[in-house]
Symmetry: C2
Subunit: 359 residues, 2 copies
DNA sequence: CAGACTCCCGGAAACGTTTACAGCTATCGG
DNA sequence: CCGATAGCTGTAAACGTTTCCGGGAGTCTG
């Protein structure tokens, strides 16, 4: 009974030992051949043949334990149904793929414990690094971020003192761009449909809206502000409540999903866009261009933020000791038919990103 | 220099050895305490304290190597920007979460080598199982699927003899539902905007469309068929080409993104929907309800397919020896304003899934 | 022909966990 | 008071891979 080591795994799959035994070489040689480093022609032939015969496929977990890397990078976002994250994801994927890694996405669904759990599970070496874009951030959440064993980059606003790589934008300024544009085109009763105020972006956009109105000397009518969720249905419902209460001549929405909901509410209520009510969304997703009329939207540079975040992450994976960095991308405004008095229901251009961009 | 074993990892992070040494116990005791199994009160106290002091966090890779499981499940889809996959993903996530696992999503971008590479990387034990929804499937792709070391479930059409768990729908029948509905409401010049014919769904929908017209005794005018990509922009361009060529009184689109593109093209060309041209999409995503008018759409039960696929996967993870199974979900048609002659530009209902459903 | 150098190979140690097993102490029942 | 039993503990083996290191064989150089 001197059987020292089983040559296959519990469920009967071959291991490198199986291959080595079958080829009549040591596991060291087998491993070398399988990794394409070294080996005499004869050994290579035997090992390759043996591997093919038994259908050997290496166990990536064991390999990672040894090599201390997995070739995977994760992205955690609230809601994968929001096109802004799709845009961001595509940009990240492009960068990550160039380093030979693969991107995995997880939707936290806004449940913050979910995100913390993900951090605990994934960040403990299942991935080489992580990009997270939280919309609510608590203290122990932040603690979990800094304590992560693998590099983490945060996309979005974060406390000034957080020792985490961070890419952000100024969404207050983004809202200001929208308000400036509307005021400049003669609108005065400007409404605002926002997301929850207990989220980071919700709070920032609320502050931005109030500040912008004040700057123009417009006193705020609270009836013109309505809060819902960052989703289509909630946006539509919120806009309906607002319209039932008062009559705006313009509507700023905290993201494009809300703006689409508002457009629906406006059209259903018989208001013409932009003649009766001008409409401006936010995030400048492809959804904005799918609508009819196409929606003006404040770009918060989500693709750019994603790209930069991915680059920061790759740098930190290569050089873990770097000090925490912070980058900022500027918002800009894409003016389209939904808010333009000069463009009468225009034919959609084929190069959609070339409309008048104000930054 | 008899130092037998380093007590911390190369980058200075604590291991279970660090904790054990600091607590003055063996690594076995430390591990037991950290897993909450056994240990005297005194040992528990010491180990807990030591772990907290050094900030110990277990290496999940090492744990997985030992336990042969990771608690992760992956979903691979073409394009995460397509809302149909978002729906599917949500359904899968719900099931998977109930088993205490987490779902990771990967977008292959239609690059088939990408999907094969993902299979090689992820399926080799990084995840406990995988759900893939390929739109193109080659032979070695299929080979990679069956050879996967971890359970795999395929969503979508697959060769009849493939030894893989499979959840499918009948999209030919789905197209037929749309055509039947349009014919029944008096349309005769029915156009079809499809995706690429070299994809599985594209081919099936093309066949379904031709068969349905034939069944109604309508001879097909090839001018009424246009092919693009399964995306918004391509759908709009394809619809524009079609409209420049001929004058349909109805349009069936191979998915909702295409349908939105077609809607845009129709409105830009001054056609009224549904008065001049009735429009029916496919996949019944939330996008269909975001439009104005809301789009009729053939539901291919994507949420249901996702749910079933996840259940099949969990069963197989628990019981790997099961024979391959195949499940089918039936298509149905949600009739909304874009194709209804009887509903004049209706107010969107608040319970959007309750419109007249035909199956 | 001796030495240096190159190449290839196998043994064994790692990577960081979990866990089977055996030994020890303390308690309990008879 | 002795044997059985229960509860903890530590040693060591596993999980499946990569890689360091030393030895052997062959080739080249002087």
């Amino acid at each position: 009974m001197g059987r020292k080591r089983l040559q296959e795994t519990a469920d009967g799959r071959p291991t490198v030992h199986t291959v080595a035994a079958r080829a009549g070489v040591s596991i060291a040689s087998a491993s070398r051949v399988l990794n394409g480093v070294g080996g005499s022609p004869e050994t290579v032939r035997k090992v390759r043949a043996a591997a093919a015969e038994v259908g050997y496929v290496p166990n990536a977990i064991a390999r990672s334990l040894q090599s201390q890397r997995t070739g995977l990078v994760a992205l955690a976002v609230e809601d994968i149904g929001n096109p802004v994250y799709v845009q961001m994801m595509r940009a990240i994927e492009a960068v990550v793929a160039s380093s030979g890694r693969q991107l995995l996405v997880h939707a936290t669904g806004g449940r913050i414990d979910n995100e913390t759990a993900l951090l605990r599970r994934l960040a403990n070496r299942y991935v080489d690094g992580m990009i997270v874009s939280p919309i609510r951030v608590t203290d122990d959440h932040l603690a979990a971020l800094v304590a992560s064993p693998v590099p983490v980059v945060v996309v979005g606003q974060l406390g000034a003192d957080a020792a985490v790589d961070n890419v952000r934008t100024d969404s207050r300024q983004g809202v200001a761009l929208a308000v400036d544009h509307l005021v400049a085109t003669g609108r005065r009763r400007i409404g605002f449909v926002n997301g929850p105020l207990d989220t980071v972006p919700g709070a920032a956009r609320d502050a931005g809206f109030r500040a912008a109105l004040a700057r123009h000397g417009i006193t705020l009518d609270e009836d013109l502000i309505e809060v819902g969720d960052f989703q289509y249905a909630a946006g539509r419902a919120a806009a309906e409540r607002l319209l039932a209460r008062t009559a705006p001549d313009a509507l700023v929405c905290a993201n494009d999903l809300i703006a689409v909901g508002a457009l629906h509410a406006l059209l259903a209520a018989g208001r013409r866009v932009p003649e009766d009510v001008a409409l401006v969304g936010m995030d400048d997703t492809e959804l904005a261009q799918m609508m009819f009329p196409q929606l003006s939207s404040v770009s918060l540079g989500s693709a750019e933020r994603g790209r930069r975040a991915a680059e920061l992450l790759l740098q930190r994976i290569a050089e873990p000791a770097l000090p925490p960095r912070r980058e900022q991308v500027l918002p800009s405004l894409a003016v389209r038919a939904s808010s333009s008095p000069t463009l009468p229901a225009p034919r959609p251009p084929s190069r959609p990103s070339s409309e008048g961009v104000i930054s």
